[in-house]
């Protein structure tokens, strides 16, 4: 039902998530933000079971911020991703596993942009592009076909729009709007929502 997508460029990462918060058949909220800001240049996108998403994501968020307070510098995206994975794995075989699917996107001064795909079994993979949800079945092949490692920001947004068009055309659920953010060396930027409000 929920959809996350991330596309990594040479010096940026573009991420988008749908903005629907649903409860059985009702859309309770149309402008729900599924992205959690872990630090100035790291975003965690989190979907999954109702309460688990917010609980787990906030737990990771507060711990990353605590690390910064204690040590004076921020965790790199790789470190944050592995920290998240470790926590998810630790809870996996407890009595309260978290059923969440994550995308972690970040920009590091040394390593550049990075996008990490993590699923609810805490499998972690660094990927140039990734998607979660039923919509991923429809859009991964578009990403396979049109993705270039050196794509520009505009090309990445176009690729994202292609994916959204395909979802509107073939996906049985109506995912009307997506929040879009871009991370580069200047930080996290909000881009325009998709689809554009005038349409």
């Amino acid at each position: 039902m929920e959809y996350l997508i991330g596309i990594q460029g040479p010096d940026f990462v573009l991420v988008a998530a749908d903005t629907v918060a649903a409860s059985s058949i009702i859309q309770m909220k149309h402008d729900y933000d599924k992205m959690f800001k872990l630090s100035e240049k790291i975003l965690l996108l989190c979907v999954g079971e109702a309460g688990d998403t917010v609980q787990f994501a906030e737990y990771i968020q507060k711990n990353v911020q605590l690390y910064k307070m204690r040590n004076g510098y921020e965790l790199s995206p790789a470190a944050a991703a592995n920290f998240t994975r470790k926590n998810l794995a630790d809870y996996l075989r407890s009595r309260t596993p978290y059923h969440v699917n994550l995308l972690l996107a970040g920009f590091d001064e040394a390593d550049g942009p990075s996008l990490y795909y993590m699923d609810y079994l805490s499998a972690l993979a660094k990927a140039p592009f990734a998607a979660h949800g039923y919509g991923a079945f429809l859009t991964l092949s578009i990403l396979d076909r049109y993705y270039q490692p050196d794509l520009s920001r505009d090309e990445a947004v176009d690729l994202l729009k292609k994916c959204v068009e395909e979802l509107n055309k073939r996906f049985i659920l109506n995912l009307k709007s997506f929040s879009v953010r871009l991370i580069d060396k200047e930080g996290i930027h909000d881009l325009e929502r998709l689809p554009l409000p005038q349409q």
Partner: protein
């Protein structure tokens, strides 16, 4: 309890009155300071302090060594597709569960029924929305228990404090208990920090208190609606908004131009938060919860605007509950309406929806008459 924290007293003669374990060998819910000593042990143990006096009370944390999933579980005869709607507590046996978990008897076995299109739960209709004149919370008054109307005049909108009410949906006993716990915690916060906890803050508190019970039969789906006043510590709200929902207010204003007229996250104004025992926490401007909520949503979505006047908003809420009770079997009887403004909540008189139904029928009859007369006149002119 707050005074005792400040003065360092933990056991006073006044204390046992509402905090001692009941004679039934069951600890009363509020056992935060006696937890380590177990049931029935000495109450007047001055030597041991509770440690962090300012810690929030989470009922499960201290004395359950296992996850609460082992407690409060109903034996296998629960049908997953039709969770029990109303559960009455039974007297306990000493070997039974710790009482801070609401007591559940085995559910009333449901009569044979047609398979539902989606899991039906929370047999009620409650709704709340914010508008320029404050916030409105409305609910029906029928408590159902399977197919039986257990109480036709129950209260589903419960005040938490002077500027906040909560609509309740789910298990009535759970909701009543957790509302009281929330009211107590809000009051403690107010005494300790000299300002009222915001609606978002109370919602987060309730959500965190309910989190250990995720996976059990506890079912609370509440919409907290209230008025956040002007506070010098308004930064807490802003930080909370930034921390949890990144750019939440920016996103809100992106949806429609009308949203820009609404209050930003840190200004005083009406606030709504939906909290569910499965962990959902949503902040928004319009919520409806319960089995009758789809019917209520359709009426509300058509009529709701920020610029509604107070009488219009009240009649919209009443109409939405009326339509829901008309179609939903588990909602009915009367409608309760609360209006929350900067001065606090005000309760409107409870209205019987049977009257509304007959008035509606009258109006329809008149409309049909009118149309027939019109048609007659048109015929004559021809």
């Amino acid at each position: 309890m707050a005074l005792q924290d400040v003065c360092g007293f933990h056991d006073t003669p006044a204390y046992p009155r509402w905090n001692t374990p009941a004679l039934l060998s069951l600890p009363v819910g509020d056992t935060i300071l006696h937890i380590q000593r177990g049931i029935g042990s000495s109450m007047y143990d001055f030597g041991k302090t509770s440690g962090n006096a300012l810690e929030l009370y989470v009922p499960v944390l201290d004395y359950l060594s296992q996850s609460p999933i082992n407690f409060g579980q109903i034996a296998s005869n629960t049908l997953p597709s039709h969770p029990p709607l109303f559960q009455s507590p039974t007297p306990l046996s000493p070997s039974c569960l710790p009482v801070s978990i609401p007591l559940l008897s085995s559910p009333v076995p449901p009569s044979p029924f047609v398979p539902l299109p989606f899991p039906l739960s929370h047999g009620t209709t409650t709704l709340a929305f914010a508008f320029q004149g404050g916030a409105i919370a409305a609910a029906d008054t029928r408590s159902s228990c399977g197919g039986l109307v257990a109480c036709p005049a129950s209260h589903k909108v419960l005040p938490v404090h002077s500027h906040m009410v909560g609509t309740t949906s789910g298990t009535s006993a759970d909701c009543a208990l957790w509302k009281r716990i929330l009211a107590r915690e809000c009051r403690l916060y107010q005494l300790r920090h000299r300002r009222r906890l915001t609606v978002g803050g109370s919602a987060k508190l309730l959500s965190h208190m309910l989190h250990p019970f995720k996976g059990t039969e506890l079912c609370v789906a509440a919409t907290l609606c209230g008025w956040d006043g002007e506070v010098e510590g308004g930064t807490e709200d802003k930080l909370a908004a930034e921390g949890t929902q990144d750019g939440g207010s920016a996103n809100e204003s992106g949806t429609s131009p009308a949203a820009a007229a609404r209050v930003p996250a840190w200004a005083p104004g009406p606030r709504l938060c939906y909290v569910c025992s499965d962990g959902t926490l949503l902040k928004g401007g319009l919520f409806s919860v319960g089995s009758g909520s789809p019917y209520a949503y359709s009426v509300l979505d058509a009529g709701h605007r920020w610029e509604l006047s107070v009488p219009e908003a009240c009649s919209l809420a009443r109409e939405a509950v009326f339509r829901a009770t008309h179609r939903d079997a588990y909602s009915g009887n009367c409608v309760d309406l609360f209006h929350i403004t900067a001065r606090g909540w005000r309760r409107r008189a409870r209205e019987d929806l049977k009257e509304e139904y007959y008035r509606e029928k009258e109006r329809e009859r008149e409309r049909v008459e009118e149309r027939r007369r019109e048609r007659g006149r048109v015929e004559e002119r021809k």
